[in-house]
């Protein structure tokens, strides 16, 4: 995208300068020629208008590029270095690109479902900003709240035959990877599989072309982020912070190795009947307040954040070729998805 943005900027200046020269030339000729000599004046003006129009009507991929900050450096090929979160496995680098892919896929799913005789309402794209990570993550672990909600969440009734048919058309049948329609990709000892006869799979082929290739690459990159996370968990800064947190918690008679263990312990005591709902809520709040203080004192979260940022960079550098291939795939997919939506 940096390449396109850089080229667009240079082209824009060239076109603007050309237009000024052409318009100036046209005005000069207009002064020199008699009023009836329309044709000689019309030609340069029309050319200028066409150039201005070409400047104002970008191609689909340019339209996306212009909504994004332009990279100051001009690259010779798409690169993962333009991506702030290169190990996410997301084809879209930002909300605009992710929404474009989402909309194209939803449009293709709708076409597929309608062709098979089923109604389908396109799902709306959900922006990251709306979920505000961490906003509700303090003072408790959500245990008492979750257990309270469980009383209000009835089991859904089995689907009707028609609903099941529609569901199967959309997502595929649940027989599993042994089914001949299934495709799968592998990375780091685990597999992602899906039914290629489903409309969600059909939609990906319509939008991206090589569904298998795209998913293999995205899945492999997602695995890299977990690799970076494992490295961060072994980082000295983080392990020292955890040791400090453990000592701090132990002083408050909470001998746990991790927050996960602490939450499990609370839930198990509730399951065994040692804590009723009210007691659980009260203890949860008290323990979470101590946890938050110990975390703040020893910077468990902050240590992980900085270690993870560093290990992600290291892992990305080691896998540069694969990430560049993904960046190239993004370029072609942006054009394909834009064209698909324009059809």
């Amino acid at each position: 995208m940096g390449l396109h943005a850089g080229r667009s900027r240079r082209s824009a200046w060239t076109i603007v300068v050309s237009c000024i020269v052409l318009v100036a030339g046209a005005l000069y000729f207009a002064r020199e020629q008699p009023a009836h000599a329309g044709t000689s004046l019309q030609a340069p003006l029309e050319l200028a208008a066409q150039l201005v129009h070409s400047l104002r009507a970008p191609s689909p991929s340019q339209a996306i590029a212009r909504r994004q900050p332009v990279s100051p450096s001009v690259k010779s090929a798409p690169t993962w270095r333009d991506d702030a979160n290169p190990l996410s496995g997301n084809l879209g680098r930002n909300e605009a690109e992710r929404k474009l892919f989402h909309d194209a896929e939803q449009s293709a799913i709708q076409d597929c479902m309608n062709e098979r005789g089923f109604p389908y309402e396109r799902a709306k794209y959900e922006e990251d900003a709306k979920r505000e990570p961490g906003a509700d993550e303090h003072l408790d672990y959500g245990l008492a709240k979750l257990l309270g909600e469980r009383h209000e969440e009835p089991e859904a009734a089995p689907p009707s035959l028609e609903e099941q048919k529609r569901h199967d058309a959309l997502l595929g049948k649940a027989e599993g990877p042994d089914d001949e329609d299934y495709a799968g990709v592998e990375a780091d000892g685990y597999t992602l599989s899906w039914d290629t006869s489903s409309c969600v799979s059909e939609a990906r082929r319509r939008v991206y072309g090589d569904e298998q290739g795209y998913r293999q690459l995205a899945f492999a990159i997602e695995a890299l982020k977990f690799e970076a996370h494992e490295l961060a968990e072994a980082d000295d800064g983080f392990t020292n912070a955890v040791a400090g947190w453990k000592s701090c918690m132990q002083r408050a008679n909470l001998p746990f190795d991790s927050r996960d263990q602490l939450v499990s312990s609370l839930a198990q005591r509730h399951e065994r009947g040692e804590l009723d709902g009210e007691q659980l809520a009260k203890e949860e709040r008290e323990v979470a307040a101590i946890d938050e203080r110990c975390d703040g004192e020893h910077k468990v979260g902050a240590s992980m954040k900085s270690a993870f940022a560093r290990t992600q960079k290291e892992v990305a550098e080691r896998n540069s070729a694969r990430l560049d291939a993904f960046a190239q795939l993004r370029e072609t997919s942006l054009v394909r998805a834009s064209a698909f939506l324009d059809e």
Binding site: S88, G89, P133, E137, R150, H229, R259, G301
Partner: protein, 131 residues
């Protein structure tokens, strides 16, 4: 009269607790077929009791131990019609102010690992991106 009130209140509480336990147990299944599911999970290692037990997860849960699941799972299928299931595995979730890495399981996708892998211990749903 007071004793009767206490007895009735105690019975009501006991009934509620039993109801809660039965709901939790009813949500465990022996397969993911024949019902309405969102995210179906399974732990190969049988750490959760009955061999082959599955669990249907409908909400967002930072840590599955909060509903009695022994923490991890290695097989997932997303039955949601439009939302991705983001499955994370992180012993320090909550109150760190950032999200751990997550597996993105799209509608209709099945994610599975070898027995030694426990791929996740919490989830959230999104109509956008997992990470």
């Amino acid at each position: 009269m007071n004793s009767l009130k206490k007895l009735l209140a105690g019975s009501a509480l006991a009934a509620s607790l039993l109801g809660a336990v039965s709901l939790v147990q009813a949500a465990d299944q022996t397969s993911c077929q024949g019902g309405v599911y969102k995210l179906c999970i399974r732990d190969y290692e049988n750490a959760n009791g009955t061999p082959g037990t599955y669990k249907n997860i409908q909400s967002t849960n930072k840590n599955w131990s909060s509903f009695g699941w022994a923490n991890q799972a290695d097989w997932y299928r997303n039955y949601h019609a439009s939302q991705k299931a983001c499955v994370h595995k992180y012993a320090w979730s909550s109150s760190t102010g950032w999200d751990p890495p997550a597996h993105s399981i799209g509608p209709g996708d099945t994610l599975a690992g070898r027995a030694r892998y426990n791929l996740g211990n919490g989830n959230r749903w999104t109509g956008g991106a997992c990470q």
